[in-house]
């Protein structure tokens, strides 16, 4: 498959044998003495010099992960300590999570990367201890007095390399925080750990390049305005081919009622484009007065994977554009981390949004009371309401060729508690739906293995390992119920789950929720439908009854 990626049988064998902690076999050496191994497949390429420069981040240079010397600034330890000091003052979460862990071990086997790699430093508790040990040594009395006995250690270049490795082997999925008796959230640790690394010019290209592109062009993929128009118009043509319906999306249109923002992955990447086609059909179906923006053309936010400041900077465009266009409120597409930002950060960072109106569905008149302040509504909430109020003409038999299961995206499940809305929509557009085992869905859901900016090719082996728990759950319903469709409401999922399925559970395709909505919509004036949006044959069914 990809360079250096072991075959699936080889990896199965390896997981069977080498996940030593799961097999109750502990490495002989303590974790602080385990050498840092920088084998290929465990890390992603460093950010290119010009990318770091474009972001005005410190210490841009050309460097390699495998080099002995990472060319850190001369006073790099001081920079890190100062960075830690500032963040301890600014984030209660950080300070608290450095102090209150009792190492009870409840989190240990909750991390998908630990389950897939067996690497003890991928236990959430040890991932945090990588940082805590340095914190204790530098910032606590006990650490200064009793050193190793209380788990304190010195900051060395080896430790920094460990941080780089393991803060980029965490997808900020927050699964561990569900089980922690103190709610310690490793995503917080990883986010702040990455911030510290950026202070000395250590970051990965796959995160910083999209962040930089998003700043300039408005989206992660670097799509310029005219190209975006072309892409969406060509999708509209595809829709016409399949359904005979002409949809007419508008761009940067002042006076539209609603600004629609979705991840740029849905414009370019397969299978995300089919989800985009689903949106276009839905909006046409209900006659929504909406516009795209080429400037705020990214729902996702790789800034979140970079630093809090960068998250704010990239997110700021949404409100800025909504105000300029004079829309009433914002509708957001299917995306995981986008919604972590919109739900938990956006208004704090860039609000108040007092130039917008409290969102009310123009079709059903339903007020979205849970979004009265931020004034941004999730498409699953929006569509669930449309279906509940019977405003959509749906024929779920058009998805009879899909036996579906639903993958809760980490951020949607554990960052905004949206569990029922997408299921409600899915059940209404698809007749065949089976849940995966209960320990792997809803708040217990597993990451796709490559969230938080880790969906690189060079990281493929670790992705396949980290995605193993998710794949394993899909395999179960694939074998038991012949599930062949994995539905997700996240653009990163749509990019990362197809290779994961190809590797572990061939025969399962990945869909966006609104792709299935688009399949099921009975449009006025449509041609007879025999193919779904990706031009796969639908299963024969009796023609419309009416």
């Amino acid at each position: 498959m990809k360079d250096g990626l072991p075959g699936v049988e080889e990896l199965k064998e390896d997981i069977n044998l080498s996940s030593n902690l799961l097999k109750e076999r502990v490495p002989e050496k303590g974790w602080t003495e385990l050498p840092v191994t920088l084998d290929k497949g465990k890390w992603s390429y460093p950010a290119k010099q010009e990318v770091v420069e474009a972001l005005n981040f410190p210490n841009p240079r050309k460097w390699n992960v495998e080099d002995e010397d990472w060319q850190l600034p001369e006073n790099w330890e001081q920079i890190i300590f100062q960075g830690m000091h500032e963040r301890l003052q600014r984030f209660r979460s950080f300070k608290l999570f450095m102090d209150v862990c009792v190492r009870c071990g409840a989190c240990a086997d909750k991390c998908h990367f630990f389950l897939g790699t067996g690497d003890p430093k991928n236990m959430p508790v040890l991932r945090a201890e990588l940082l805590r040990s340095v914190y204790r040594g530098e910032f606590t009395l006990a650490g200064k007095l009793f050193k190793g006995l209380v788990g304190a250690r010195k900051l060395t270049q080896e430790v920094l390399k460990e941080w780089f490795l393991y803060f980029h082997q965490c997808t900020e999925c927050r699964r561990c925080s569900v089980y922690c008796p103190f709610g310690i959230d490793t995503a917080e640790i990883t986010m702040l750990g990455r911030e510290l690394l950026h202070l000395v010019g250590v970051g990965i290209n796959w995160i910083l390049k999209p962040a930089s592109d998003c700043n300039r062009t408005g989206n992660h993929l670097g799509i310029e305005p005219h190209t975006m128009v072309q892409v969406i118009e060509s999708l509209a043509e595809d829709i016409e081919d399949v359904t005979g319906i002409t949809v007419e999306p508008t761009f940067n249109r002042k006076g539209a009622e609603i600004l629609f923002i979705t991840p740029s992955g849905d414009m370019f990447a397969d299978p995300g484009v089919y989800t985009m086609m689903g949106y276009l059909l839905l909006f046409h179906h209900i006659g929504l007065d909406y516009t795209f923006s080429t400037y705020a053309s990214e729902g996702g936010n790789f800034g979140l994977f970079t630093s809090h400041d960068m998250a704010k900077k990239l997110n700021g465009k949404m409100y800025h554009e909504a105000e300029r266009l004079g829309v009433k409120w914002i509708l957001g597409g299917e995306c995981g981390h986008m919604w972590r930002v919109v739900h938990q950060y956006m208004e704090t960072m860039n609000g108040p949004a007092d130039f917008l109106e409290e969102p009310i569905s123009p079709i059903t008149g339903t007020p979205f009371r849970n979004a009265v302040s931020t004034k941004m509504v999730h498409i699953a909430e929006f569509t669930a309401d449309l279906i509940h109020k019977q405003k959509l003409k749906l024929d779920p038999r058009r998805n009879d060729h899909i036996v579906s299961t639903f993958h809760d995206s980490c951020n949607i499940a554990r960052g905004m508690g949206m569990l029922e809305e997408p299921r409600y929509v899915l059940r209404n557009v698809c007749n065949h739906f089976h849940e995966m085992p209960e320990n792997t869905i809803r708040e217990h859901t597993y990451c796709c293995g490559a969230g938080s900016g880790l969906n690189t090719d060079e990281f493929m082996e670790t992705r396949m390992r980290g995605g193993f728990p998710r794949a394993n759950a899909v395999q179960e319903v694939h074998e038991r119920h012949d599930v062949n469709g994995l539905v997700a409401i996240c653009a990163i999922d749509r990019a990362t789950l197809p290779p994961l399925m190809n590797y572990w559970v061939p025969g399962v395709s990945v869909y966006g929720l609104h792709e299935l909505v688009g399949n099921a919509l009975v449009m006025e004036g449509e041609v007879e439908r025999t193919e779904d949006l990706r031009e796969d044959e639908m299963v024969d069914f009796e023609g419309d009854d009416d």
Partner: protein
């Protein structure tokens, strides 16, 4: 190293108190000075730590949602797992504090052939932890009989319930038994459970040994070595009324017990034991998940500048014009 050092430390501390009182006659030091000192360090340290945490703001509203959030009216919200108001968030925290809600979710993942992941319910840590904390609380409360005269009615009831088995004389307290058992369980996890053993530090063993030594010395005084309770009571009541006296002879084991409690109290604010206070402050648990409904304010909101639409249009104006996109300025 991880277990020997803390074990030796606890034994050494016990020995110091024993020698200090039984051979060197330092009753004043161990009976009066140390308790006051430890109490001061505990109270001062505890308050300092809490204030120190609270000094750092909570910039973002980051609860971990573990159930359905408030949404459309016909979708049932899970108030305790995804609270949307202050009181339900408060209830969520209390559920953690009193019943260890999150630990109750614990599962054990195991790899079977295939490989396949198998999850089994794993409530032992939850149960052991709960027994440990609750019995400790009851034992702590029971000790007020040594400080207060007359003994309040509530305490008498508590004692009667706790010793209802009447199996020994004086009657065995159930909490004593289960406290020691739960400690043994928590210790054995750190020895025998591969994952827990690997992540444990010396500072995880030390409080367990310390509590075990405190419990065993206490139980020994009640059931085996039999100290003169009247003198012990005099000492404690003197302490609490700030008229400390060193009463008649009390066995060295009493001073060992007292001194180890002092060590625990003084050690508390500087250790992981502060999770007792920290659990109330955890932002992933104690905040309502209503951040789209009520704006959360960050006191240091970073002065980050965005790339404005104007700057964007300036760069792409020609391309936008060619694509017939509306423009703010034509040139």
């Amino acid at each position: 190293m991880k277990t020997i050092v803390p074990l030796l430390a606890v034994m050494g501390l016990a020995l110091i108190a024993y020698i200090g009182t039984s051979f060197l006659g330092l009753h004043m030091l161990f009976g009066i000075v140390m308790p006051y000192l430890a109490f001061g360090v505990f109270v001062g340290g505890f308050i300092f730590r809490i204030l120190d945490w609270m000094k750092s703001p909570v910039p973002f509203r980051i609860p971990t949602t573990t159930g359905q959030s408030k949404s459309l009216e016909w979708i049932k919200q899970d108030q305790l797992e995804s609270p949307s108001g202050f009181w339900s968030a408060f209830a969520r925290v209390m559920l953690e504090v009193l019943f260890f809600r999150s630990l109750f979710r614990n599962t054990k993942a195991e790899l079977g052939k295939g490989p396949t992941l198998v999850y089994s319910s794993s409530k032992w840590l939850w149960f052991g932890g709960l027994v440990f904390h609750w019995t400790m609380l009851v034992i702590f409360l029971r000790h007020y009989r040594f400080f207060l005269a007359p003994i309040p009615h509530v305490l008498q009831i508590l004692e009667r319930v706790d010793s209802f088995l009447q199996v020994t004389l004086p009657a065995l307290y159930l909490t004593d038994l289960f406290f020691v058992l739960s400690l043994a369980f928590l210790l054995s996890r750190r020895w025998f459970d591969a994952q827990t053993k690997y992540i444990s530090l010396a500072s995880d063993f030390f409080p367990l040994f310390l509590l075990l030594a405190i419990a065993l010395s206490g139980i020994s005084m009640r059931h085996f070595t039999k100290i003169d309770v009247a003198y012990a009571k005099l000492l404690m009541q003197g302490l609490i009324s700030f008229q400390p006296v060193v009463p008649g002879p009390i066995s060295g084991i009493f001073y060992v017990h007292l001194f180890l409690v002092c060590v625990l109290a003084a050690y508390f604010p500087f250790s992981k034991l502060m999770h007792m206070g920290g659990i109330f402050l955890s932002p992933t648990r104690n905040l309502a998940t209503n951040s789209r409904e009520i704006r959360h304010v960050n006191p240091w909101n970073a002065p980050e500048k965005i790339r404005t639409y104007t700057e964007y249009e300036d760069e792409f104006r020609e391309k936008m014009a060619k694509a017939d996109l509306p423009l703010e300025r034509k040139t």
